[in-house]
Subunit: 317 residues, 6 copies
């Protein structure tokens, strides 16, 4: 007899969280989150969760540090309230891009996040499409990574792209793009950008491969300011590309990104709801694919002791 399954969520993505609970056919766990006038957060778990198998959903949406601390406090409350097992469900992992020490004396903050989750009491992590697969080695607790890649690829399979190439906006994202190229049986091109410091603005230099007279599927793991995407679009167009589509798993989309992409020649931007997209509905080019079903399946598999790898079999491309 398994301990009872309970799913709680914080304030970072209530729509996705509710949708996941819907797929699982259960009510979300009752909790009260209070933010005091000094900015301090208080979490009260409002039902007995002793010896239960608890999942807590929180994503790295803004305000990201509030959401991170809220998650840590919620896990801590669950631990001392005697949950049997606590799985932190992070549709988008916190501080994922800070995954290496490419300058002296900086923090590998995505490793620090793993430490903080474990200190707070998490026993497992479930997440989606990490910025690099090595992040799986950061925690000292089991971690499952889901991939939105099959959903995104399927979208373009249905579009029937044929005279096309898959483009990586820079050399670093070539491995991610290559999965799309193989699945769609298309050739690749790689834009070779130069990022200047921490300014989040990029300057494009070069292209490897040839997009002449081809439709292009531009792929990255996440889009924030969209400057890479826009620069890649320019160089692709400059090298004779025809229609350009963009795809990413994590659509952080700053206001500037939305404006830029709206004004760009990109035909369509496809993303998922790991980050809430309600505020972007006015952005007409945007297609949002839900990953709630996949998260619900994974939570159910973890709860029942079934293989999560099996869920991904179809996505191992």
């Amino acid at each position: 007899m398994l301990p009872q399954l309970k799913v709680f969520f914080g304030n970072s993505n209530p729509e996705l969280s509710t949708e996941i609970c819907g797929h699982l056919g259960i009510e979300p766990g009752q909790r009260t989150i209070t933010k005091f006038s000094n900015g301090n957060i208080k979490v009260k778990i409002e039902e007995n969760i002793r010896n239960k198998d608890v999942f807590v959903i929180q994503t790295a949406s803004e305000p990201v540090n509030d959401h991170l601390v809220e998650l840590l406090i919620m896990i801590d409350a669950l631990k001392y309230a005697s949950a049997a097992r606590i799985t932190a469900v992070l549709p988008s992992y916190f501080y994922a891009r800070s995954d290496k020490k490419d300058e002296p004396r900086i923090s590998v903050a995505s490793r620090l996040v793993a430490d903080l989750l474990q200190t707070s009491g998490a026993h497992r992590i479930l997440t989606m499409t990490l910025h690099s697969p090595q992040i799986m080695g950061f925690p000292r607790i089991p971690m499952d990574q889901l991939l939105a890649t099959p959903n995104l690829i399927n979208h373009f399979v249905q579009k029937g792209l044929t005279n096309a190439v898959v483009a990586a906006p820079d050399v670093g994202s070539a491995k991610e793009s290559r999965k799309f190229a193989i699945a769609l049986n298309l050739p690749m091109v790689i834009c070779d950008k130069e990022r200047l410091g921490d300014l989040e603005e990029v300057m494009m230099k070069n292209i490897i491969g040839n997009p002449q007279d081809k439709d292009v599927l531009l792929v990255d793991d996440e889009i924030l300011t969209a400057s890479s995407m826009i620069e890649a679009t320019k160089i692709l167009k400059g090298n004779g590309a025809k229609r350009i589509y963009a795809a990413c798993t994590h659509g952080f989309f700053t206001k500037k990104a939305v404006d830029r992409m709206a004004a760009s020649p990109i035909e369509e931007v496809v993303t998922t709801n790991t980050i809430p997209q309600q505020n972007n509905h006015v952005f007409k080019k945007l297609t949002v694919l839900s990953v709630a079903g996949l998260f619900a399946d994974a939570i159910y598999a973890i709860h029942k002791g079934k293989s999560v790898g099996d869920l991904l079999e179809h996505s191992k491309i």
Copy 2:
């Protein structure tokens, strides 16, 4: 030969931090703190700190979770950059009021903060006037607590309060108030409020002791919304009190608090600069005492291996 002393600080209280460095006669450590457009914080330590004795100043001012995460990232960066020792200097301790489990299934968040600091790499903590002295038992690393009490008492000694009482705004703060009563050789009264849930609004019920025809020194460890203070003021006035002065170590002062106190019959509000008070200059009743000298003395004592207790001898009241 001691390792070199270095003092770094975050964005929470640059004025106090700079003043502390001034007292120590050293330049603040060079670091760059970047906040990206997804809300993620990056800290880069800009000078070699290998084998150095490093202090990091950060206080629990707003936005408090940004400041907490910034502190954790900064400590993490210092640890992996091979600092010999890292002391977290918290003029006002984070989540200090969340120090007990007075409801089921809540987090003792001030204990969690101790855990997170240690996980990030802090070897020691230096702080001031904890909400309860038991918080000293939360970390598994040494912690020194400074007290602003002597500074505050000295202010009122110089005022020459004689026909007066010391008042606690509620039973819980009676122990803190009692230190003032003993030092000033004055009797005490205790207001007996009833806090209703988490609403931060209070309803006063009663008074223990008699303030009739006395000046009153109302004392608490911190003031946030000032609702306790205002309610206490009403009941004290209703019981015949004359002039009312208020004192606290940590002046969090919401806008509402400033308005309320400005409109109240309180003559003067005395606090310290553990929380920045620049935005409250318009609040004319406010007197701010600097604790920079005391923090500088304590940092120097810790660095040199001198007793911090000796600094407090005069304040053991």
Copy 3:
């Protein structure tokens, strides 16, 4: 299917322990405790407890260090004998008064006790009426605190105290006393004692509030030498109090305490059996309320994964 419940106990309070097992309807776990002629303790668990849910009862009665070490050795034996879960049940927590660093270079020994319990292998703690609620933040394992307050209050409700006040023997215990005042709907007075060093003898100075012509219920969390109580009695009588009743959860009662209270004008002393009271039967004023039922209920709730908070609902005053 839950793992089997087993309850073991040490030598500190066999009467209460046996009574708890009686309430639970189970036989105590078989173990042999040997004390060798060099003072070393050996514990042998005499039955297989692999994968079982084990509770170990030990209270802070004298000889307290023997009882503490006996507890640590027993937990260690249970851990390496493969118990599924070990809950340390401490009717009176060890070194509870040593909960803060109010002098330089002392140990917060009640925190150290939490560390030692965890090192030995305890997964949880169940205790009653801590000296301060912040002790809940000391362990890094879940801890449940029961309260004897409702039992004690109920005793005085039945007595029908009406023209009465509740008195705290010092400012520090005012918060505990206030719970009685609210429950019994009575006003409060606070005696303001001055403890002189570590001598355990106190000198009274003052009173806040007015006991004139009232019966008095004097409340503290524990009574050891009774010097606070006796001093409070004197000052209360000196301020016109009528009959005086005393109540505490933990009745440590030294011989001197028994003599003092017997000779004092206190009418009745009410306590519980968290500390064994067999040797105090000659002390005629003493009323002992059993907490065995409450502990049995809590053990059962923890074992079954029910809320312990619910047991306390009626006691949240």
Copy 4:
């Protein structure tokens, strides 16, 4: 006054280790390593190293598990012999390619190695050219990464390659190759291989970019069986490349690799001595650059508390 510097080494690369000690001007630490007839290793440290600053050099050469266990035992002996600080110096990191969980239910063994080093007593790690930079996030102790890139690039700068391209043997190593392309101001091509399972044999599919009539510099972080390199050579030649040079930091070179490269059209293979190359002297195309000086500089900088980052300034390409 700093603790004394001591350098010990195991059996994995005595030539490099001795050369490093020579650069530092110190004698290697005395130790006796015995391998018993049951395969067990015993390490005896033959001189007092209490309170000293100890570095232990061991690289991932064959027999790799003997060398790993020998390292762990040596660190353990140093720890319990009271070394002040122990830095594991790994010219080639153990199990570096096992850095992600790209299949279900495998170990991220390079993370496990970090755990084992820390458990044995290492306080720091010094290594060179990790398979992926994220490995820096695996240990919970500081880690410095040196790069052989500048040495390798300098070799080709002196060769004066002009009508040339830099080639990556697969998409995954494109980021490493790009550093060479930028430093040498050359364009890039990327071979797009398909690795089939764990067979270490690869099948080439494609090329991105154009090597027609160019000399080619093929770059990877390590060469083991050389099958990637040979396949890349074929496709480069098939696409019109002229002379082909190969470069890598870690030259593991199986016998098969040596034979293959000897028989291939590759003009020159350049590597370093992180892995001993004595047995490859017959392989005439091989150029071995020593990294002993760089390791000696880094050990000296760590010992003196100087910046290791500064040593790399010239190599940040």
Copy 5:
């Protein structure tokens, strides 16, 4: 309802492992172990083991460090694949003779092995006949020790030794031999050898007790080079002993040992299969007793939460 039982094994003793699975009536867990051409080992668990009760069998046979690292990697893979519980089953414990610090600055490697097992993720250890019983105190996880003593004794009971003595080859193994002497109701003699350094060769000096005209049963916990045994045989013969039998639990038997014992006057050598004995079939004096049944019983008892001590009751001699 218990989690499912799964038994995996490494490459160190497939015959014993398969035999244990046969006794348990289950198929061994599916895994693929690959050794790459750089000596690195990869373990892939080929079936879902989430929430299962997993046992991993690996013994200290040669190449011992490969087998140790293979075990650590396998446990690590099982941990991150979410096994509910992992028991390391070590028929012969790794580095068991390295159990004390009898020279300065050496590692107690059998303690280090306990640390490494725990770091990798083992929750329990099951082993047989430790070199010293204190090794049970090295891990911080529960450990069960089986004994082959009853099997060995029973073999000689059936032989009907009467006019005989039990001999210890040195003073250090006298305690082990004494168990045989008591069980067989025979007197003891002790050979008093002097081991010279780490040379594994010994020089005999003396004998305590008298073997004149007696058959002799020579007993040790393990035999490696057999030099102790051969020296003891010489001195026993020199003191008038008749037939000599040898017994040990762990038969490591180097080639030299086999040759020596074959050429010696020893009549029979009895050992178990904790170390594979397939290669010793030509050695005609050798009798191998299987311990597979006892290991299967112990695994079943641990899985079911039954007492392992009960299995040993008959062997407590």
Copy 6:
């Protein structure tokens, strides 16, 4: 420049502790130890010890659990008072005989003691003559073991024993006795006792070797009730032994032991002052050798980073 050396001690052996400080030429560290009327111990360190190199002396004399808890509290106080390094100096290690799990479901309490010392904050241990050398593998911190063997042997060398044997009171102590036999160039005999349960009373069965017409030196690591010694004496006398001398490092000597040995034919009992012997002056056969000088030398060596092994060179027998 080294941190300053400070030596503190508890209440277990003030004479030896003072003597050690005398040898070191320093004043003992000032501390106040209070025992309250509830049995709780409070330790206050009365001088600043920040960044100092602190040694704390406490031995396993009676009341042993009070002394153990006092030690843990003292170390905890020193840790949080910021000592640079804390070495627990245990002339006789606590719970040393409880070093193996020779029955099911008992604690290996000498391992638990190592855990508790480390949890409290000890960085190192210095002790003398452990019951078994494997205890060195219990802590995860460095441990130095001194030996009183050379002092004891030297005493008997000066006595000029020639026509003599060295006797072990049981098989388990044969290894310790053998050191004396080798150093004094004497043959050995071994008494073969049967200990019955935990009764501390023994029944002798047998003797291995021949003491006929020899003087005997009976050697054990400790003497508690002396029952083994007395039984051995009987059997030795029964086998024709002449004069009998007894030697041990740790003289726990219960009253019964003193009476028994006084009444026995033993000529002289030689021990050390690891356990206080003031109360045994009436016991005329007793010779007490001081180990204060050796402890002082070891403390000085540890403080200065010199080899402790060198101190033992003359004692490696």
